[in-house]
């Protein structure tokens, strides 16, 4: 799920950036540092939308670096258990398939794939129904439900299922 929240970070700036463009430099450094990262608590930072406040800089002893506490607004993405997402399949193997929903990777094990879909190996391994009507292969879009998240300090990984109602392939890449 996406959130728009205020986060705080201490940015260290080299004196070469001081001057007229101090603030811009600071902001661009922040965006470079933070966008795309993931914290276990907030999830993935998708984009910085604005700077709320920049505090007074503190010169570090021994070096000339200055530390600014920056408060900024950003869009974050955090998956939750029970959430339903659309994802794109990245890899299929006989244990299940991997899919990505934006920055988060989700694994659907074959136990949670409907029983009527069988694995078929080949140069394009896929899961397909007995009558061939539904096929899950690389780059297919699927709707899945998150049944568990594993949150490390800097990484989030999810397990999903497509065995419930209204889940499964959204559109077939071959027909598109």
């Amino acid at each position: 799920m996406f959130f728009h929240i205020v986060l705080e970070r201490n940015m260290q700036l080299h004196p070469r950036y001081f001057g007229r463009n101090l603030r811009d430099n600071l902001v661009s450094k922040l965006m470079k540092d933070v966008e795309g990262t993931c914290s276990g608590r907030h999830g993935f930072v998708v984009a910085v939308t604005g700077i709320e406040n920049i505090g007074k800089g503190l010169i570090r002893d021994g070096t000339g670096f200055v530390t600014f506490p920056v408060k900024y607004q950003c869009v974050v993405f955090r998956p939750f258990k029970g959430e339903i997402l659309e994802a794109v399949v990245t890899m299929v193997n006989k244990m299940g398939f991997f899919a990505e929903a934006g920055p988060v990777q989700i694994f659907v094990s074959n136990h949670l794939i409907p029983d009527d879909m069988e694995f078929q190996s080949g140069d394009m391994p896929n899961y397909t129904t007995s009558d061939g009507s539904v096929k899950i292969q690389k780059d297919s879009e699927v709707r899945l439900k998150i049944i568990g998240t594993r949150v490390d300090a800097t990484e989030i990984f999810c397990i999903g299922t497509i065995k419930d109602d209204f889940l499964g392939v959204i559109n077939d890449p071959t027909t598109v």
Binding site: M95, N110, I147
Partner: protein, 468 residues
């Protein structure tokens, strides 16, 4: 108050632990030596006790200590009991025994040894609050597991490596992906991982039928299991409901319980005569009163009952008086008269019965009658002297008179023992009663004093006199 909880424990034990064996995995389990269900016995025993030492429990249950410890360790892990391991001397263990004696009305109090070796004693006790929670959690998990399986949802796949047995979950999937991307490799041994399937919905051989049938059979099986579980566990669930609102019986830590129990025991025993050994015991707490010390002393070759502490101290503090110091009317004990070792010529039976009576009465009398006792004894001695004089004169007379005299004296003495039972009613003014009283209380001393006098003063063969 504690009964519903005990019932809960018993139901839970029979429901969940009735196939637990206390044998190790390596030991052969033959038909003869299979002790499945011993866990139930252990739990039942614990419901009847509070804090108990494991050695004592093993002895009571006639179980090998190791097996009992294995079972108790299992229960500790299940959070059903709490254990406490203490290093103590034998004296400390004695405090515990005293505490148990106070709570369980046991009659033994062990005597401590004088060594200061520290052994580790283990104690265990049922933890009722946790039992309630544990049982509820277990039921919840059981139902949850069955329901999940039934609806085929939300179960996180588990993987196991056949080589090294290492287990993984689906969360580890990205790490486990092998180089070819085809399957999962074990991290340590690079073996291909196997999927760990649901144990409850065990596959039948009929997968060829079509998944439809297999699936339906699995569902049926699971539903069946769920239903059976609910029916069989109903009494346990009911008991849980009953127990829910009651306050939990709490025994506290081992130290607290011991202190409480021994204090209670001391209060209960404090009325009885006798002093407690009051030297410091374990942890500086005063040694609790652990029962009357019983001393068995041989009198006349017969075994007397345990006397009170009073008589023991009395006997040890008195010295043997030489015969020339003994004047009539002195209230002296047998030892003082020097009669400890002397064989009695009196018939064993009557004196022993008299002695038995007197022993019993002695312990129950207490200090109340002492004054009266003294008076009566004085009177009795006076009477005795008189009687002896009569006997001497009678001895000079023909034997029949002697015989006639003696039965009366013997009967009077015999009566004395009998009459003594009714001592409370008797006023003691009668001549017969007075010696009865005196005989009863100090009779022990008196009988033998009589005996001592007779040979001392009469060289005659006063067999009849002694028989009385």
């Amino acid at each position: 108050m504690i009964e519903p909880y005990n019932k809960l424990v018993k139901l839970a034990a029979r429901a969940f632990y009735d196939d637990l064996t206390s044998k190790g995995d390596n030991q052969p389990k033959t038909g003869r030596s299979d002790n499945r269900g011993i866990a139930v016995v252990v739990l039942d025993a614990l419901t009847r006790r509070q804090w108990v030492r494991e050695e004592d429990l093993a002895k009571d249950l006639k179980l090998h200590t190791k097996q009992l410890r294995r079972t108790l360790r299992f229960f500790e892990e299940e959070k059903i009991i709490t254990r406490d391991h203490r290093r103590e001397t034998a004296k400390g263990a004695k405090i515990y025994s005293a505490a148990v004696a106070a709570t369980a009305d046991a009659t033994t109090g062990k005597e401590g040894e004088e060594k200061v070796k520290l052994h580790t004693h283990s104690y265990c006790c049922l933890d009722y609050a946790q039992i309630y929670d544990v049982v509820r959690y277990r039921l919840h998990r059981m139902k949850h597991k069955l329901k999940d399986e039934l609806e085929n949802k939300n179960t996180i796949q588990q993987y196991i490596c056949p080589n090294c047995g290492k287990r993984y979950t689906a969360f580890d999937a990205p790490r486990l992906l092998s180089r070819n991307g085809e399957d999962f490799d074990c991290e340590s041994c690079d073996g291909k991982l196997d999927v760990e399937s649901d144990k409850l919905a065990a596959q039948e051989g009929g997968d060829g039928d079509g998944d439809e049938n297999a699936r339906r059979r699995r569902r049926e099986k699971l539903k069946d299991m769920l239903q059976k579980m609910e029916v069989q566990l109903k009494p346990l669930i009911d008991q849980l409901g009953r127990v829910k609102d009651l306050p939990v019986p709490e025994f506290g830590s081992l130290q607290a319980w011991e202190a409480r129990a021994s204090a209670a025991g001391r209060a209960a025993n404090g009325d009885n005569a006798g002093d407690s050994k009051s030297h410091l015991g374990y942890n500086g707490a005063p040694m609790p009163y652990s029962g009357d010390t019983k001393v068995v002393v041989d009198f006349n070759g017969t075994e007397g009952k345990g006397e009170g502490v009073k008589s023991e101290t009395d006997s040890t503090s008195l010295k043997v008086l030489p015969p020339w110091m003994i004047t009539s009317g002195m209230n002296l004990t047998k030892e003082q008269r020097g009669e400890v070792k002397q064989e009695t010529k009196m018939d064993g039976t009557s004196t022993s019965t008299a002695a038995q009576y007197t022993d019993e009465k002695k312990s129950t009398i207490g200090h109340d009658d002492k004054n009266i006792q003294d008076e009566y004894i004085k009177a009795y001695y006076a009477a005795l002297l008189k009687k002896q004089h009569e006997l001497e004169e009678a001895a000079k007379n023909p034997q029949d008179a002697n015989a006639a005299d003696d039965p009366s004296s013997s009967t009077s003495i015999r009566k004395v023992g009998d009459k003594y039972k009714r001592k409370e009613d008797d006023d003691g003014t009668e001549w017969e009663e007075a010696p009865a009283r005196g005989n009863g209380i100090g009779a022990y001393k008196v009988d033998l004093n009589v005996e001592a006098d007779a040979p001392a003063e009469d060289d005659e063969d006063d067999i009849d006199w002694e028989e009385g």
